[in-house]
Each structure stands twice: as C-alpha cells, then as structure tokens.
Symmetry: C2
Subunit: 336 residues, 2 copies
DNA sequence: CTCCCACCTGGCACCGGTTCCACAACGGCG
DNA sequence: CGCCGTTGTGGAACCGGTGCCAGGTGGGAG
C-alpha cells in the first residue's frame, strides 16, 4: 500500500507537487504531472479518502434514508439516486429506516452525524424539525423526496391532485359506485401519502355530488395487499363497486388479479385505475397515473450536488411538484 | 462542531484520556469516564470517522456490489445485508453494477479501492481473479453471494440441484411434456445461474428418459418476461406443454397470469413450478423451491464481520450451500 | 532596464483522532 | 520495607493527505 510520499519520491517531486498533480488543483507543469501520474500508476497508488476528507471536510459520500427497498417505487428512486451519484463521483451510503423508532434515532444520532456524509437524501420520510435542524447545523445539504418538509428543498408528485384526477377519470366514464382501496390511514407512510390520496378521492367525489361515505377500504401497499382486499370486496356482486381507484399500482395489480380470479371482466364489469406506472400495470393494461421515481431520484441528486458544488448559492428551499401523467389503458371503460 | 480537544478541556482531562473514555479502550476510572461522557453529550460531540479511520485504518463501512435493486431476490438480499450491518455498527455503501463494463472498472479501480470500505460483499457478480486479487491485496475481506468464486468464501443455493428437484417434482406427477422457461443463456447473470438451472433441468429429464431437445424457451427474469413468453408458448393447445418449470418465481408468476388470461386451468391443464419463494408466488399458489435471500445477506455479513473482528482467524475460503425447500402449493398436480 | 505577474515548486502546519510510552500512585506480597 | 503489577493519566508522535506561503523562474509591459 503506497502513499503519496512514495509517489512523490519516485517522481522526484515534493508531496505538495504530487498532490497538486494528482488532484488537478493548482499549478503543475504538464511534464511534472505526467511523471507523477506515471509513478502513481506504477505503484498502484490511490488516495486515502479518509486523509483527504479529514483535511478538506468533504467526503464525497451521500446518505440515503429510505423506508423500503423491496417496493417498486422505492427501488426505482434508489436506482435513480445511485446512478446519478456515481456519475457525479459520489458514493451512496444506504440507511433503511424501518418503523423501529429506536433504530431511527440511532441512525440520526450515531450514523448520519459522524462526518461520514456530505449530504442526505431522505425518501418518503417526514423529518421532524429537530432532525432537520440537527442535520442543517452540521452544514449538510438535505433534500427530501415524497412530500414537503419545512425548510429544505423537497420534491414529490401532488398526491391530492393526482388522486383527484384518477377519480375524475372514473367519474367521467359514468361511474358512481367507486371504491378507493388505499393505504391504511393510521399505519401510513410518513408523508400522509395515504390520507392525501384519500383527500383527492373524496374531493373529486364531492365535486361530482357522489357520496363518499363507505367508499374506502384499506390495504397493505403491495400486490398481495390489493389482492386480498380485492377478493373480499369483489366477492359479493350485489355490493360490488363498478370502479376501483387503487392507492398505488401494486394494489391495482392485486385487485386485477383478484378480479380475474373471480371471473369479473375488466373493464366491462369493473374499471380499475392506479397510481405509479409500474411495469406490471402496463403489462396488465391497468390505467394509471404514471410518475417517474427514477427521475425523482436523479433530480434530488441534481439539487444536492448543486448545493454541494457551489456552497454560495442559497439553497432553494422550495417544494418542487413533479408531474404525473394519465396513461389510459384497457382497465377503465364507460359504465354500462 | 466540537472536537475531542474541546471535550477533554471541558472534562478537565487530556485528549488521550478523553479518547479512551469515549472509545472504551484502555484504563479510565469510572468517575473520569462519566465526566468525559457528560462533557461529550453536553457539547453534542461525535467522533470524526475520517480522523478515526485515518489512524486506525478501519472505516466500519462495507461495500455491496449488486447488479439490480428492483428485483425481488436482490432487494431481499440487500435488505438482509443492510439490517445485519447496521446492527453490527457498520455502514453500507451501495454500488449497483450494470452491464456497463466501463462502470464496473471504474467502481473497482476508483471507488472500491480508495480506503473507504473495510470489506466487500458481491452479490451475483462473478469477480474475475484479477478483481479478487486486487481487493485481497488491499487486505479487504470479501464474501460472494450467488455462486462460487475461487479463493474467497461464497454462498449460494445449489442451482443445478434445485432445478433438478423442481423438474423431478413435475416428472413425479407424471408430466413428460415439460418446458423450461428460464433466463437467456447468453445474456445471463454472472454466475451462469441460468445455465446451471438449465443443466439441472436436463439432468432430471435425462434421468427419467425424457427428451430435452426443444424443451427450453428463454425469457427475461421478470414477471413481464414470463408473461410474454407464457402467452406465446401457451397459445397453441396442440404444442402446449403440460408442465412448466420457470427459471424463477417472477417468470412463474408471469406465466401464471398468462395462463389465466388464456383460460388455461392451473394445475388441471398446466402445472407450473418456480424457484425463489416470492410472496406473489405464494399468493397465487405457485409451487416453488423457496430460498431465503434475506438470510443469505445476513449470513454473508456474519462471515465478513467474523473476519473483520478477529483478523487472526484464517478466512474459510469455502463455498457454503444454502438450502432450498420444496413448497408444494396449488399450481402443480398429477398429469391427467 | 525594471517591475509585475503568471507559472511552478518545496516546506510546513494542519485536519482530529488513536495509541505508544513514560510516569505516578497504590496495594499486595515476600 | 522494597519490589512488582495493576490502574490511571498526560505528552507527543503519528495516520496521509491538502493548501497556504515563500521563493524562484521567465517573459511581457512600461
């Protein structure tokens, strides 16, 4: 394991010149630079990032805190973040925060706070003012994905509006017996995504003069969750809705599978719409309001790096609303 | 941002005593330790991991290189790794290696090699001897998941045997027109998982005296991939197989959906078996050979940490075979 | 011709911990 | 009573880079 001093010696220059040559900062003649580079590659030299970050205070490492990995939306966001960071020469340190509050505290108090990371991206986690303040006190830029957080730049889709548009699509097809199968209001994710989508749903119904009472069933935010609730809800033809607005595509997919299993024809007997843009939704012809989680991740990195690269620019502590697009496929049709 | 010297001053002790008190190494009187701890928490002190790892040479950070995030098996492995690492007080730095060879080189040459990580877990990536040697030369313990790698401890299921058992299950039910829908042999993942499962398949057929010629179709390793190939393969009732061995549960799920769509009754007209233990497989009643990817990740961490914690123990450069368990559900039945 | 500036290089202090070593106090044992 | 081992503490040398500053060149402007 060779160190900078070895490289300098082999190249016949001083440590500082070797450092300049390799990092590209400051004046070095082309000839010297080449000699140093040669020496470095001959010795298989690589900088010690610990030493570098000790003196510069920068680690070129970004933390991502995220509640799930094995769910489509989160995995997509993560992939988007990872790809962008690596392209920018940054490492990505992953913290999965479960519902374990104790772990959450540990991650914040112990892991994030050590000067290991330059910045933090939090996905679908509603940071408390105290957590935000703590990270900001450390001078760490912070970007949130999935909902608003006071005082830091965040980005997300407009959940209320997206749900409203989805519901309106069903209403415009003449449906009035519409059921919303969404996430549990109590065990919801941090940003109240569930209740926001529910709000959009009821808002659309009310605007159309349709009764919202009893038009909601909760399900786990997964294909299995949608499937189970789908089976139970679609079983009785007398109480069966003519259209379902699923809180996410995974639920919608589960419902679709349940409907097929029960011999309920989609869209003739039942219309289904979801939110997300999941590839399986496309495969099944599920109408949806598509978002691009990968792009959200990439955008978050972009915001972060711009803060990191020129610290002068005051951070745009704004909430950025990302678009969703209605993709009408074959799971929704006019009410017969 | 307070540093150790501040804490020492506030506690009225020297830097070295403060360091000992906080790290728990060496002699410190209980009373002094308490004073130091108090001072530290009063100042909100946290160690600079850069400074610490500069002198100790340990970073308490493990790299994970993985080809996918948004696939069930990989996400499960990743979750298992993450949970175990955080419990052991280690950070996890994530590198997603796509098929981009250039990126792969960069990750190895540039990212992994900087003294940022203490160890590396490689998931479903067949490291070249050169890559192994490079990491070992840096003294970094290395564990592989998903297949054998010469010279380092690895763990995986026995793909050949698992596929053989799956096929045998179909054979034992009296099926002879069995199709294997698996991954593309050419575009396969690194460990030749696809060809190994194919080998197990043909081996079982041969042992039963069944012709293997033409009994294979390739699909993308995903639900959509299985669905598409399923549609094309199941369309013509005259050439339709009576049983399908899917290369993974995701393919099996896709085939199941395709079969339902075509009105083919499972298991009466078609038996389907997969490999993995995907939750949707369970939901659909898909018979499978279940593995526990999360446990594989946890086990890998265990191997790694034992190497890290007591460097004396020579690494057990062995391949550990993890079990798969036949879970017979409702997608397989005797040939009529 | 002088002055200034852009270019190039080396010396050295520093980042913030860890750890080795020296030293001191104290108790137990022969 | 002297010696030794255990315990407790402080001083100082690191770890391996970065970057400031000083010093030295050479060329163009005044």
């Amino acid at each position: 394991m060779s160190i900078l001093a070895d490289v300098a010696r082999l190249a016949g220059v001083s440590k500082s010149t070797a450092s300049r040559a390799l990092s590209g900062r400051g004046y070095v003649s082309d000839e010297t630079r080449m000699r140093v580079e040669e020496a470095a590659s001959e010795l298989g030299y690589v900088v010690s990032s610990a030493a570098a970050s000790l003196v510069t205070g920068r680690t070129r490492n970004v933390a991502v805190v995220i509640p799930y990995i094995n769910r489509w939306y989160f995995a997509e966001v993560l992939e988007g973040i990872e790809a962008s960071l690596i392209r920018g020469g940054y490492d990505l340190t992953l913290y999965r925060l479960s519902t374990d509050l104790d772990l959450r505290r540990r991650v914040f108090d112990y892991f994030l706070v050590r000067k290991r990371v330059d910045a933090v991206i939090s996905v679908a986690i509603d940071l408390s003012p105290h957590e935000v303040q703590m990270l900001q006190a450390l001078g760490k830029p912070l970007v949130g994905i999935g909902g608003r957080i006071e005082g830091i730049p965040t980005l997300s889709i407009d959940d209320v509006e997206t749900a409203r548009v989805a519901t309106e699509h069903l209403l415009s097809l003449g449906h009035t017996r519409i059921l919303h199968i969404g996430g549990d209001q109590h065990e919801q994710m941090d940003f109240r995504v569930h209740s926001q989508r529910y709000t959009g749903f009821t808002r659309a119904l009310r605007a159309a003069g349709v009764e919202a009472e009893g038009a909601f069933r909760s399900a786990e935010f997964s294909i299995e969750g949608g499937y189970q609730v789908g089976l139970s809800v679609l079983g009785d033809p007398r109480t069966r809705p003519t259209a379902i607005f699923a809180g996410c595509d995974e639920i919608g997919i589960g419902i679709t599978i349940a409907a097929r299993q029960l011999g309920i024809s989609v869209p003739h007997e039942l219309s289904i719409i979801g939110i997300d843009g999941h590839p399986i939704a496309e495969m099944l012809g599920l109408t949806t309001l598509a978002q691009r989680p990968g792009n959200q991740g990439a955008r978050a990195v972009e915001l972060l790096l711009s803060q990191l690269e020129h610290a002068d620019a005051t951070p745009p502590n704004e909430h950025e609303v990302l678009p969703t697009e209605l993709a009408v496929r074959t799971s929704t049709a006019a009410q017969r």
